[in-house]
């Protein structure tokens, strides 16, 4: 099948800082793609380029075969963006925020669409309150709803679950899975790795602007393989990666305090690849 998003050697440089370094990706339609990476890895930069907000320093990016630099208007018609920073109009009401956005996208039947979304996001009672008076989580919810007003074919969610309570976070996971059924393509960034493991068909791990891994969560986990022995040493949690269960038991026996033995998960992979916690 033809890819929905194609980037080729995509790069972005800010003065002498390389924020994104030669990213080449192909994302098929209907995929939920997770973009992971430590702070400053270049995730938001990548999304800004794909959503026509930032111009790449080199390389190309195409969405649905439209070039983001040369055919920006065609790209803008296809996308919905939930940015990392909440950029709602604080001095306008929730309804007004969605209305302006819908009009920018020339949405027909806008009132019905807004009502539907506000009900879905559990904000209908606050529809006519100023966003300034909303809690952080409510603002985040409205931000996600806004990205959906135009029924985008490609949805960008840059850390959408930051600051959401567990209940609402779960609702959002369900929503993302529902959206997937309707065939939309989703690019998701998150620092909650288990979220990516659960939701994403594939994940790419960025580190200092470079793509250092790209596969399904299961395949990435399988590549590292084995078990993790977690121990608590004078208040510090330590993680030890071992090949198999037997080695894990042997290790556990030598530990004076409580131990947890578990299979490797995506977070272990992430940490090993980005080089922070695990030592083999």
């Amino acid at each position: 099948m033809h890819a929905m998003i194609v980037t080729d050697n995509l790069g972005k440089q800010y003065q002498d800082l390389v924020a994104l370094d030669g990213l080449s990706l192909q994302i098929p339609p209907g995929e939920i793609f997770g973009l992971l990476g430590p702070n400053g890895a270049g995730k938001t930069t990548c999304i800004k380029i794909l959503t026509t907000l930032a111009r790449p320093s080199r390389g190309t990016a195409r969405i649905h075969d439209f070039d983001v630099v040369r055919q920006p208007l065609a790209v803008k018609k296809l996308i919905g963006v939930c940015p990392q920073e909440i950029n709602l109009d604080r001095e306008l009401t929730a309804y007004e925020n969605l209305w302006i956005y819908g009009r920018l996208h020339r949405m027909p039947d806008l009132a019905a669409r807004i009502a539907e979304l506000l009900t879905f996001g559990n904000l209908e009672e606050r529809a006519h309150s100023l966003v300034r008076e909303f809690s952080g989580g409510m603002q985040r919810r409205l931000l996600i709803l806004r990205a959906l007003v135009s029924r985008p074919r490609v949805l960008f969610l840059d850390e959408p679950t930051v600051g959401l309570d567990p209940q609402v976070r779960r609702q959002l996971w369900n929503l993302i899975q529902e959206l997937k059924l309707s065939g939309i393509t989703i690019i998701l960034t998150t620092h909650y790795i288990e979220e990516a493991e659960m939701l994403c068909d594939r994940v790419g791990i960025l580190n200092r602007g470079r793509l250092i891994a790209l596969d399904t969560p299961a395949a990435l986990v399988a590549k590292v393989g084995g078990y993790v022995v977690e121990t608590l040493n004078s208040g510090r949690r330590q993680y030890l990666l071992v090949r198999d269960k037997e080695e894990a038991y042997a290790r556990a026996q030598t530990e004076p305090t409580g131990v947890i033995i578990r299979q490797v998960n995506l977070e272990d992979v992430f940490i090993q690849l980005t080089g922070e916690r695990l030592t083999n």
């Binding site: 907000l53 996308i79 963006v81 001095e91 306008l92 956005y101 920018l104």
Partner: protein, 245 residues
């Protein structure tokens, strides 16, 4: 063209601020101050071009008010939306053109400028009989708002901080308010300064608002004002088209 949502958003923000009374007071504070201090202070004593000083001053204050209000609103709103609240990103990521954004913003700035100068105009009708309110007068007022709202777009896009906006204001807007014939005739100025002043848009707005009748000089002024408007508008579109974070 899809400029309406951009225009409407600014109007909603404007309306909300309008409801806070302090805002109207602050928008009209300086023209009122000048009107009281100079107009009423010197008004009856100093005669100027055939009328009282108040008659002379009033069209100038209307021009100045339309300038500062159109400009300030848009320059501030765009700077803050771009740098602080990041709401400007929404426009860039939406399927609207740079021209849509510029037109929407300029129209909103014009509403604001016409609102403030309209109040002053209404007040002036009680104080002075020297105003010539004809079609050209209003045409020029609208054109002046357009020119300075368009300049506001450029400043709003180019400022790297709130202080930057203030610098633009101090370098371009304030000198025009004082030198372009708002308070005293341009002809009294030394020659080099006079030539510079005669190239500035507000000089021509002042001239036209004081003498809104068709003749060669007014046509010249109208043409110059329009040229300023077109250039600022085009620059605004180019800057927004090139926008990248």
């Amino acid at each position: 063209m899809n400029w309406f949502p951009i225009f409407y958003r600014e109007l909603l923000l404007f309306r909300r601020r309008l409801l806070r009374l302090g805002y109207v007071v602050s928008a009209l504070f300086s023209p009122m101050l000048y009107l009281l201090a100079f107009g009423l202070g010197l008004g009856k004593r100093v005669a100027m071009s055939g009328g009282t000083y108040l008659d002379y001053l009033l069209p100038g204050l209307i021009a100045m008010t339309s300038m500062t209000n159109s400009y300030t609103w848009i320059a501030t709103s765009m700077t803050v939306g771009r740098l602080h609240f990041r709401t400007f990103q929404v426009y860039i990521q939406a399927p609207v053109t740079a021209a849509d954004i510029v037109v929407g913003q300029i129209l909103a700035g014009m509403v604001r400028g016409l609102f403030a100068s309209g109040i002053l105009l209404g007040l002036g009708l009680f104080l002075s009989t020297g105003l010539h309110l004809n079609l050209m007068f209003f045409l020029v007022l609208v054109l002046n708002c357009l020119v300075f709202a368009a300049f506001g777009v450029i400043v709003g896009m180019k400022s790297r901080s709130h202080e930057d906006t203030a610098t633009f204001t101090n370098f371009f807007i304030m000198p025009m308010a004082f030198f372009c014939g708002t308070f005293f005739p341009v002809d009294e100025m030394p020659w080099l300064l006079r030539d510079i002043i005669k190239a500035l848009p507000l000089t021509h707005t002042n001239r036209l608002l004081r003498f809104p009748f068709w003749n060669l000089e007014s046509l010249e002024s109208l043409a110059l004002l329009s040229a300023y408007g077109v250039v600022c508008l085009a620059l605004g579109i180019i800057i927004i088209r090139r926008y990248s974070e």
